[in-house]
């Protein structure tokens, strides 16, 4: 009978979620609890995700490394070539130019914006968001992907866009059944200018195929307006050489 009671309780209350009025913090906390526990997320030192980006049937191999100490890089692979993009060594950001294969520094405004926000977003922008200067607001329920969701707006630190300050925020859509985000929407005056004459393309990514990796849940499929990113392998606390983030000083010309 005890088991039935528990089962009933779970049915009545839904999954581990507070049934009363929601606050943004309750939703975010429940998300971290339901996906492995906040303490375990806090212990994470780094994540390496390997997979591919599919765009119109073409696959581009992808390895994304992000570390707690803010360093990160994305390595894309096609035709056997490995090209690094968005490499941040804690100070500067660089990527390889596709035409020449040479490393070039990213523009200062973009890097400063990155330092204001994304650099702090390991393991998630939502994690201890107040410490980063962000604020969260519960905006009510909304249907996303045909599914009832809690809508939480995470306002980040303002950034500069072409020399003018601009607000940025991410709206998270948490499935009300399990408190896992199934979609993220980037908003902000920087993103307001869509293609000529259209509504600004909504920068919505949908998250699915959540799977467990050593006790933590990650979405293994992220569909963005550009294509689908499918993770094949997620490694926690990977070993990464310092050199992996270092910008090559001179282009490696005429190598074999």
């Amino acid at each position: 009978m005890k088991i039935i009671q528990l089962f009933l309780f779970a049915m009545l209350l839904g999954v581990a979620g507070p049934i009363s009025a929601q606050t943004a913090d309750e939703i975010i906390d429940t998300y971290f609890e339901n996906t492995g526990g906040k303490a375990n997320w806090a212990k994470l030192e780094g994540v390496q995700m390997a997979g591919k980006m599919s765009m119109q049937g073409m696959d581009i191999g992808l390895t994304i490394v992000s570390l707690k100490d803010t360093r990160q890089y994305t390595q894309i692979n096609f035709q056997g070539q490995e090209m690094k993009q968005g490499v941040y060594d804690g100070e500067i950001m660089w990527g390889l130019n596709f035409m020449t294969g040479k490393a070039e520094q990213m523009e200062a405004e973009m890097v400063n914006n990155f330092k204001m926000n994304e650099a702090k977003d390991f393991p998630s922008a939502l994690f201890d968001y107040k410490d980063k200067g962000y604020s969260a607001e519960y905006l009510g329920k909304e249907t996303m992907e045909g599914t009832e969701c809690f809508k939480v707006k995470l306002t980040k630190n303002p950034v500069m866009v072409d020399g003018k300050q601009s607000d940025v925020a991410t709206i998270y859509y948490f499935d009300t059944e399990n408190y896992v985000p199934i979609a993220e929407e980037m908003i902000g005056s920087a993103m307001m200018q869509g293609p000529p004459g259209a509504s600004p393309a909504k920068m919505i990514s949908t998250l699915s195929d959540y799977q467990e990796v050593e006790g933590l849940y990650f979405p293994f499929s992220i569909i963005t307006p550009q294509g689908e990113m499918v993770m094949e392998n997620i490694t926690l606390n990977p070993t990464v050489e310092d050199d992996a983030f270092k910008m090559p000083e001179v282009a490696v010309e005429e190598d074999k």
Binding site: I4, Q5, G101, Q193, P196, G197, P200, S208, D209
Partner: protein
């Protein structure tokens, strides 16, 4: 303790049992899933812009409110605009930015205040606190139209709202309202009566206790307009709205009409006001230099007094009190404090608002009936913004061309037709003008290349022979002794499917022509109520006479001949009759008396004759011209003897049009003032369609027969299309009860037609979105897929993997596309990229299997692909496919060879390091391998102009790219090139095999002995995709 839980358990069980018996009704997003609308504009003529709002400190940012297309924002100084108010009422009265938080806080009052006959309605006040990304409704649901929002520059919580109020009836929600708590509570601080509203409200820029408010007594009916009365007045408050005084010193006495008011920001005691008065000589621009204590008439030129209800905005240059601009037919500018005026530079006529750049007064923006214009030279030269698709269609129609064309007429922007798709998207240049004035119905002759179009009041009806480029004007006149013909502003014409040369037009009579409009005969009596009280348009307008024809009433408004029986004709009138004949016009029956629940004389906006049964029809009524905003749609199955309402509570906004599905009688689409609704159960439940579909007024809907595309003419957002609505036909209860249901995929033709689009101008010009022509898989998920793997893969008839697709995971309907391509080949690694190598080959026609894996379950469906029918012989296609496959294989063979060579080089170099005794052997091998490699792939250069000379990989890839991209048989030279590359490959392969047999073998056996794992992937492993 036991019992309550047992009880609960029982309750749950019974609930789940009863739930099984209930109908599953999907609503909104669940129902429509990933079906999405696309917008094709056009934007070249844009549409009516009602209000402009400049950011107070950042001149890159400007907001524009439109008559029916929502709110648009530019963040690049007006180069391009984006729509930011899609989900809400699209008719805009006023936009105001909070002076203290102009980046974040935007207030929008809905309901256009330029009250022409076709103006839409508002539904309240909205606010965004994130620069227009998201919105909240603040209230004023019944306000109908909000003319002004003023915010205390020192206190963002203190806001004044001027409500002009209902145009079509009495209402108390009018006047000036004030909040001191940021919009939570409102106090009505100035009210005149239920007919008189606040037309303009301004706040002193530096003394927030001073306000000016103009009040306007006005009313429209379907057949008349009145501007003016004794209650129209200009008021001033000096105590933040506590008390108000009329400031008419210098104004004429008697009735006043609409009053515009503006203040010079650089000299706030200077006021300009434009008056509509009883005596023509008193009307014009008045000026006060003492904050409204006294007024002096400055100028009564035509440009200042023209149509006050449509033009009353005055804008003063923020830096110069003597530079003043008045909206109007052409717009007028004065540089001498209002003494003299000249017209603004040439642009679309009917200017409603003008604004100056905050820093540079030479930069100006104007909102017109034809979009936004910018000026760089103080209004002398005007340049249109080419990317605001807010065109206002009254009607649309489609043909059966491939791609099909969309035809339609626009408010003040003539008539047009254009393709629904074009290479690179539908651009301005794809649209063709097919009539002037205001455009309404535009119809393609059912069989000939002839187009009918018309202008307001049937002043002209045209028949255009597209091939010969000949225009004939064909409207009927009344015969001798016959009553004067009354045509609606928006007169109905209709063609016949059974008699292609037949054309109908409706005045108060139904006219028919059997020779494409050359000769007409009347086949009915007066089908309207012919109420003389509604036929005094000459007296319409109020203080300023306004007899444009827009108020013509007691006219036929819709005509529908049954496609099942040409003798069955339906006619609906603007004064609320629904007439039907079953004998081609000999006898008519007015069936309106058989409709219950519909107020008398409600405008019959549309009748749709069913294609399923000749006695079946749908009638849609619009009561908004009597201030009744409820939707009305009825269905009859017995020629109108009985009518049943098919509206549910879910529908918001008055309706104008309905479209029946050609296959499933229960699938219907309803256009309302606030968007599109659909029902899959004959009107028991309606769902609003919101996927990329704004809440625009849907005036007309067509279902294109070949494509099942739902094509909408919106009055403010141009033509919007939902491609292929057929998935909605098959949503049976059995389907909805399943966890996963994959709908069968029809045989799909692999399109081949393409072309060069030329992207020039697309940086700032609107480009309409094309439909996808890819293969489409549609499935229903009962629940969204969130946990565990899910994928969709395609296999050919030999169970060989072809490619994977991006599976949709939404609850409801998912649509997944396949571009008929398999994966591109694996390409040998070189120093640079081989761009041709990214080409993915098309699959041959045939049967393919689609496997969806969702967690542990798999689901399968199949698709048959066929070739495009364009004359390319099958043998040629096969030759192309065969050669493509050969090069594909050879490309991958080479890729693996190069991989092996690269690995061997690495191994040799490592071994040389780790085992110095082997250095010589290893170095020798590495040298030979490197030598070979240099002939296989490029090993130097870059991806731009530093490219190296092509090697085998590049030559092979270039040939592959050429052949794979074609559909026809390869040329003799293609084959010769392939053969010579194949020969070269064989040679290289020979060298490689020689090395493998000798030096490499030696190295490998050394490593084997040394127990080192060489770790070279097998070919199969290497090529895995």
């Amino acid at each position: 303790m036991k019992t309550p839980f047992l009880g609960l358990l029982l309750l749950l069980i019974t609930q789940s049992i009863s739930a099984q018996d209930e109908m599953i009704t999907l609503k909104g997003d669940e129902l429509f899933g990933s079906l999405s609308a696309r917008h094709i504009g056009p934007a070249l003529m844009s549409g009516r812009v009602s209000d402009l709002e400049m950011h107070p400190s950042n001149n890159r940012i400007l907001y524009a409110g439109t008559a029916g297309g929502g709110v648009w924002k530019t963040t690049n100084g007006g180069a391009t605009f984006s729509s930011i108010f899609d989900d809400y009422c699209q008719s805009i009265g006023a936009i105001t930015l909070d002076p203290q938080n102009p980046d974040q806080v935007v207030w929008v009052g809905t309901g256009e205040t330029w009250t022409r006959n076709s103006t839409s309605v508002g539904d309240g006040l909205y606010r965004s606190t994130d620069g227009g990304t998201s919105w909240k409704k603040i209230g004023f649901e019944e306000s109908d139209r909000i003319s002004s929002i003023q915010i205390n520059p020192t206190n963002s919580d203190e806001v004044y709202v001027g409500v002009l109020g209902a145009l079509w009836g009495d209402h108390e929600e009018r006047g000036v309202y004030k909040t001191t708590d940021g919009g939570i509570t409102w106090e009505k601080i100035l009210y005149v009566d239920e007919k008189t509203g606040c037309a303009d409200l301004i706040l002193h820029p530096t003394d927030p206790n001073i306000l000016y408010a103009s009040f306007w007594e006005y009313r429209r009916t379907a057949w008349s307009f009145n501007s003016g009365g004794l209650n129209s007045a200009l008021y001033k408050s000096t105590d933040a709205g506590k008390s108000w005084n009329k400031i008419h010193n210098g104004f004429p006495t008697g009735k006043l009409g609409r009053i515009g008011i503006a203040l010079a920001p650089s000299s706030p005691d200077v006021l300009y006001s434009v008056l509509e008065t009883e005596n023509k000589n008193d009307s014009g621009l008045y000026k006060s230099t003492d904050g409204g204590k006294s007024w002096e008439l400055k100028n009564g030129d035509f440009g200042l007094v023209v149509r006050p209800f449509y033009f009353s905005r005055i804008t003063v240059n923020p830096k110069d009190p003597d530079v003043v601009v008045k909206a109007g037919l052409s717009g007028s500018i004065s540089r001498d404090g209002g003494n003299t005026f000249k017209a603004l530079g040439q642009m679309h006529s009917d200017i409603h608002d003008i604004t100056f750049d905050i820093n540079d007064s030479d930069r100006m923006y104007a909102g017109t009936d034809g979009g936004i214009y910018r000026s760089w030279n103080g209004g002398a030269t005007m340049e249109i913004v080419e990317n605001i698709p807010v065109s206002q269609f009254y009607h649309i129609s489609v043909d059966d061309a491939e791609p099909y064309n969309v035809y339609g007429g626009l408010q003040d922007n003539g008539s047009w037709y254009g393709p629904n798709s074009a290479p690179g998207g539908v651009k301005a240049r794809h649209w063709n003008s097919i009539g002037g004035g205001d455009g309404f119905r535009v119809l393609r002759h059912p069989t000939k290349n002839i187009i009918y179009s018309e202008m307001q009041g049937a002043m002209n009806v045209w028949r255009y022979d597209v091939d010969k480029k000949i225009v004939n004007t064909i409207q009927p006149y009344s015969d001798e002794g016959q009553a004067k013909l009354r045509f609606n502003w928006n007169p109905p014409i209709a063609t016949s499917e059974s008699q292609p040369d037949r054309l109908y037009i409706g005045s108060q009579f139904l006219h028919v022509s059997e020779d494409m409009g050359s000769n007409w005969k009347i086949i009915s009596g007066d089908l309207t109520t012919n109420d003389p009280a509604k036929q005094n348009q000459e007296d319409s307008g109020g203080l300023s006479k306004d007899n444009s024809g827009a108020e013509n009433h007691c006219t036929i408004f819709t005509i529908a001949e049954s496609t099942l029986d040409q003798k069955v004709i339906w006619v609906g009138t603007d004064d609320g009759n629904v007439q039907v004949t079953q004998d081609g016009g000999k006898n008519w029956t007015n069936t309106i008396g058989n409709i219950t629940g519909l107020p008398k004389n409600t405008w019959c906006y549309h009748i749709e004759a069913s294609v399923h049964n000749k006695g079946t029809a749908y009638a849609v009524f619009d009561g908004h011209t009597t201030n009744d905003k409820k939707p009305y749609a009825y269905k009859t199955t017995d020629f109108g003897k009985t009518w049943t309402s098919i509206i549910s509570d879910e529908v918001v906004g008055f309706a104008r049009n309905i479209q029946e599905d050609y296959v499933n009688e229960d699938l219907l689409f309803l256009g309302t003032e606030f968007g599109l609704y659909a029902t899959v159960n004959g009107g028991k439940n309606w769902s609003k369609f919101t996927n990329n579909m704004p809440s625009a007024a849907v005036h007309y809907i067509e279902l294109q027969k070949q494509t099942n595309d739902l094509v909408m003419g919106t009055h403010g957002r141009g033509v919007i299309i939902i491609d292929d609505i057929s998935p909605l036909r098959n949503l049976s209860q059995e389907v909805l009860a399943k966890k996963v249901h994959i709908f069968p995929t029809p045989t799909t033709e692999m399109y081949e037609d393409a072309g060069f689009s030329g992207f020039f101008g697309s940086e700032t010009q609107f480009v309409g979105e094309n439909p996808t022509r890819e293969a489409k898989f549609v499935y229903y998920l009962q629940k969204r897929h969130t946990f565990g793997k899910m994928k969709m893969d395609i296999y050919d008839s030999n169970d060989q993997f072809v490619t994977s697709l991006k599976a949709g995971k939404s609850k409801g309907i998912n649509v997944v596309y396949w571009n008929f391509l398999k994966k591109p080949p694996k390409i040998a690694k070189g120093k640079t990229l081989s761009f041709a190598g990214f080409t993915a080959p098309r699959v041959p026609a045939g049967d393919y299997k689609v496997v969806m894996t969702k967690g542990k379950e798999t689901y399968e469906t199949s698709i048959k692909l066929k070739y495009a029918e364009n004359g390319i012989p099958i043998a040629s296609r096969k030759a192309q496919e065969e050669l493509t496959a050969k090069i594909y294989t050879l490309t991958e063979d080479l890729a693996y060879d190069v991989y092996e060579v690269d690995r061997w080089i690495e191994i040799a170099e490592k071994t040389a390091k780790d085992h110095p005794a082997q250095q010589k052997m290893c170095n020798g091998l590495a040298d030979k391998l490197n030598g070979l490699r240099e002939t296989l792939v490029v090993t130097t250069g870059d991806n731009y102009v530093g490219t190296a000379e092509n090697q085998l990989r590049e030559n092979l890839a270039d040939l592959y790219g050429k052949i794979a991209g074609n559909y026809d048989k390869p040329s003799v030279s293609d084959l010769a090139t392939f053969n010579s590359l194949r020969k070269l490959y064989d040679e290289k392969k020979g060298s490689l095999e020689a090395l493998r047999g000798k030096e490499v073998k030696k190295l490998m056996s050394f490593l084997e002995k040394a127990e080192v794992n060489a770790n070279v992937k097998s070919k199969e492993e290497f090529l895995k995709k």
